[in-house]
C-alpha cells in the first residue's frame, strides 16, 4: 500500500487555539535549524585561521614580524578555549545521559535509588539532575502525543481548553481534528473542524462531558478513526485494482459500489459494500452481483480482500 500524505493539521477556517504551541514537535526541522547555527560559528573561526594562513605565506620571504607571532599566540589561545569548552560540553552531555539512564531505571523500579558517584559539587549535581529530569519529561510528553493523546492545552486562563483528536490507519498518522472547548461556566464546544457528517452534537448530548470530557472524546475518536480507515481504504482500492470503477460513494464513506470489469471475460461484477456501523472501518454487508448471479456475505476484513474475492467471483470460484 502506498503512503497517504495527510492533509494539513490546522484548518484555515478556524483560529484561536490552533495558533498555540504545537506539542507535536517536528524534531527534524528544528534539528536542521541548529545545525546551520553550528556551521556559522565554525566558519567564523576557520575563516580567521585561513586568513592567517594566507598572511603567513605572504610573509615567508620576509623576516617574521613580532606582530605575526602575537596573532598566532592569540589564535592558539582561542583554539585552546574552544577545545576546553567542547570537552566540557561533551562531558556534561555524557553525565546527563548517564543520570537519565539511572532515572529511567528508577521509574520502572529496576534499581534502588543510588548516588552515582559524581565528582561535581552539589549545586552542579542538582543542575544536572534537573536537566536529566527535563529530558525525561520532554520524552514522556512526546510519548503522550505519539500514542494518540488528546494534546490538551489550557487556554484563556483556564476558561477553556483545546484538544486534538488524532486519526491513524495501517501505521500512518492521518488528519488531526481540533476542538476548542469552553470550560467555564459550562462545558461547551465552541469551535471545531470535525466534518459535519460525524454526529458530534449527538455524541456531546450522549456524553458526560460536564464531568468527564473523555466520555465525549473517546466515542468521537472512535467515529473519526473508523471514518479515516474507510476513507483510506476507498482511496487505495483504485490503486490496487486497475479494473475497478467507483460507481457510488458518499462523503462519510459508509456506502461504496464498485464495478469490476475483466476485459477477457467481458463481464462486470457489481460490488456493494455497506458500512452501517460508523464506529467501524469494516463493512457490515458485502454484496456481489453479476450476470444475474448474486452473492451476499456478512463480513470482510479489509476492502482489498473484497477485491480479491471479486476476482474469485468472476472466475466462478465463489
Amino acid at each position: 500500500m502506498t503512503l497517504q500524505p495527510p492533509k494539513s493539521n490546522t484548518s484555515a477556517t478556524t483560529s484561536g487555539c490552533f495558533h498555540l504551541k504545537q506539542r507535536n514537535v517536528h524534531y527534524s526541522t528544528q534539528h536542521k535549524y541548529s545545525q546551520n547555527m553550528e556551521v556559522a560559528t565554525t566558519k567564523g573561526v576557520l575563516s580567521h585561521l585561513s586568513r592567517l594562513e594566507v598572511q603567513k605565506r605572504s610573509l615567508k620571504s620576509q623576516p617574521q614580524q613580532p606582530g605575526g607571532v602575537k596573532a598566532l599566540r592569540a589564535t592558539v589561545e582561542a583554539l585552546l578555549t574552544q577545545r576546553d569548552q567542547l570537552r566540557a560540553e561533551i562531558q556534561t552531555h555524557k553525565n546527563i545521559k548517564k543520570l537519565r539512564v539511572s532515572m529511567d531505571k528508577q521509574c520502572t523500579n529496576e534499581e534502588e535509588e543510588t548516588e552515582e558517584g559524581m565528582d561535581e559539587d552539589s549545586e552542579n549535581s542538582n543542575l544536572l539532575r534537573l536537566m536529566a529530569r527535563h529530558t525525561q519529561l520532554k520524552d514522556l510528553l512526546h510519548a503522550h502525543n505519539v500514542v494518540g493523546g488528546y494534546n490538551v492545552v489550557k487556554t484563556r486562563q483556564g476558561k477553556g481548553v483545546c484538544v486534538s483528536v488524532a486519526t491513524f490507519y495501517e501505521g500512518v498518522y492521518l488528519n488531526t481534528y481540533n476542538l476548542e472547548i469552553d470550560v467555564k461556566p459550562t462545558v461547551r464546544i465552541s469551535r471545531h473542524n470535525v466534518p459535519p457528517f460525524i454526529p458530534l452534537n449527538n455524541l456531546a448530548e450522549q456524553s458526560n462531558m460536564q464531568t468527564d470530557l473523555r466520555t465525549l472524546l473517546d466515542p468521537l475518536s472512535q467515529h473519526l478513526n473508523a471514518f479515516a480507515g474507510r476513507q483510506q481504504q476507498f482511496k487505495f482500492v483504485k490503486e490496487l485494482h486497475k479494473s475497478v470503477e467507483v460507481m457510488e460513494s458518499n462523503v462519510l464513506c459508509s456506502l461504496l459500489v464498485l464495478k469490476f470489469t475483466v476485459p477477457r471475460e467481458k463481464t462486470a461484477v457489481l460490488c456493494s459494500l455497506d458500512y452501517t456501523d460508523c464506529t467501524r472501518s469494516l463493512p457490515t454487508r458485502v454484496h456481489f452481483e453479476s450476470d444475474g448471479r448474486i452473492c451476499l456475505v456478512q463480513k470482510f476484513p479489509r476492502l482489498y480482500i473484497t477485491c480479491h474475492l471479486a476476482d474469485a467471483f468472476i472466475k466462478r470460484d465463489l
Partner: protein, 292 residues
C-alpha cells in the same frame, strides 16, 4: 644589532605556534563531530533554558543561581503539563526511552520504548517512528510494533494484540486499553458499592478487582449465586462487558423448591439485565437473595 637574532627566534616560535594551531584545529574538528553525533539524539539536543544551563555548567555563562531557578520553573511547567496530559488521556506513562536510528535533513527514524499503566493494567510498547518531510507536510508512520501487557490479562487480549501488531495500530491499542480499563473500573465500583451496602449478602472472595461476586443469604450458606462479570476484547478492539448469573445450589435445595424462580435464575437475570441495566439488575437479585 639583535634584530636578526630576534627574527630567527620569532620564525621558530611562529613555526611552533603554527604547528600547535594545526593540531588544535584537528582536535576541535574531531570534538565538533563528536558533539554533532551526541546531538543526533533529539532528546539530548538542548535549546532554550537547557542550553543556558549547559553553558553555565561549562563555565561560559555567569549567574548560576538564575540559571537554576529558570530551569526549575520550566521543569515545573513540564511536570504540570504531564499531569494534565495524564489526566486527560487516561493513561499513565512512566517511561519513554528513545533511540535515534536515522537522522538526516528530511527524515528522522526513532526507536521508542514506552511503558506505563492504565489504571492497574501494566503495558510496554516498542516501535519505530518515522517522520519524513515531504512537500505536502510531515508524514509520520509506525512500524515494527511490539506490545506487551500484564501477564494476567494476556488471555483476554491475545487475539486483539496480534491484530494490533499486524496492523501497527498503536493508537487503537491505547484506545482499547483505556476502554477496557474503564469497563473494569465500572465493575470494581459496582462490586465495591454492593459489598458496602449489603455486607451480609455480598462477598468478594477474590477481591474487588476480580470478575466474580458471591451472593448468599447468611442463613443459607450452601446456596450461592455467582455474578460473573467479564470484559471481553474483540480482535477489532471492541470492548464489551458480559454479566452472567450462575447458581450454585445443592440438589436437595432445588428439589425442595422446584419452581423456575430458582432453577431458571440465570436466564431470568439476562432479561432483567436487558431491561434494567447491570447495576439495577444486580441490586434486584441481591434484594431477592437477602429475602427482604
Amino acid at each position: 644589532m639583535t634584530t636578526g637574532k630576534m627574527s630567527n627566534e620569532n620564525t621558530e616560535e611562529a613555526a611552533a605556534l603554527q604547528a600547535q594551531i594545526e593540531h588544535l584545529q584537528a582536535e576541535v574538528s574531531a570534538l565538533r563531530r563528536q558533539q554533532k553525533d551526541d546531538q543526533k539524539d533529539v532528546t539530548f539536543h538542548f535549546r532554550g533554558q537547557m542550553q543556558n544551563a549547559m553553558l553555565s555548567l561549562c563555565g561560559q555563562r555567569q549567574g548560576d543561581e538564575k540559571v537554576l531557578s529558570m530551569l526549575m520553573e520550566e521543569v515545573e511547567e513540564l511536570e504540570e503539563d504531564l499531569k494534565l496530559q495524564t489526566q486527560m488521556n487516561g493513561i499513565s506513562l512512566t517511561g519513554c526511552t528513545t533511540k535515534t536510528l536515522q537522522s538526516s535533513g528530511r527524515k528522522l527514524v526513532q526507536q521508542l520504548c514506552v511503558s506505563g499503566h492504565c489504571s492497574e493494567l501494566l503495558f510496554q510498547v516498542e516501535f519505530q517512528l518515522s517522520e519524513v518531510n515531504e512537500a505536502s507536510g510531515c508524514v509520520r508512520t509506525i512500524s515494527e510494533l511490539n506490545v506487551v501487557i500484564d501477564a494476567g490479562e494476556m488471555q483476554n487480549f491475545s487475539s486483539f494484540l496480534s491484530g494490533v501488531e499486524e496492523s501497527r495500530d498503536l493508537l487503537l491499542f491505547f484506545r482499547t486499553l483505556r476502554s477496557f480499563s474503564d469497563r473494569c473500573d465500572d465493575r470494581r465500583r459496582t462490586f465495591q458499592h454492593f459489598q458496602e451496602k449489603y455486607p451480609a449478602v455480598v462477598s468478594l472472595p477474590a477481591g474487588c478487582r476480580s470478575e466474580v461476586m458471591h451472593l448468599s443469604h447468611p442463613e443459607l450458606p450452601g446456596c450461592v449465586l455467582l455474578v460473573h462479570w467479564s470484559v471481553h476484547v474483540s480482535r477489532e478492539g471492541g470492548v464489551s462487558p458480559k454479566v452472567e448469573l450462575l447458581t450454585k445450589i445443592p440438589e436437595r435445595a432445588l428439589q425442595l423448591f422446584p419452581s423456575q424462580a430458582v432453577g431458571g435464575a440465570a436466564e431470568a437475570f439476562q432479561s432483567l439485565l436487558r431491561i434494567l441495566g447491570a447495576e439495577a439488575a444486580l441490586e434486584a437479585v441481591i434484594m431477592a437473595v437477602s429475602l427482604s
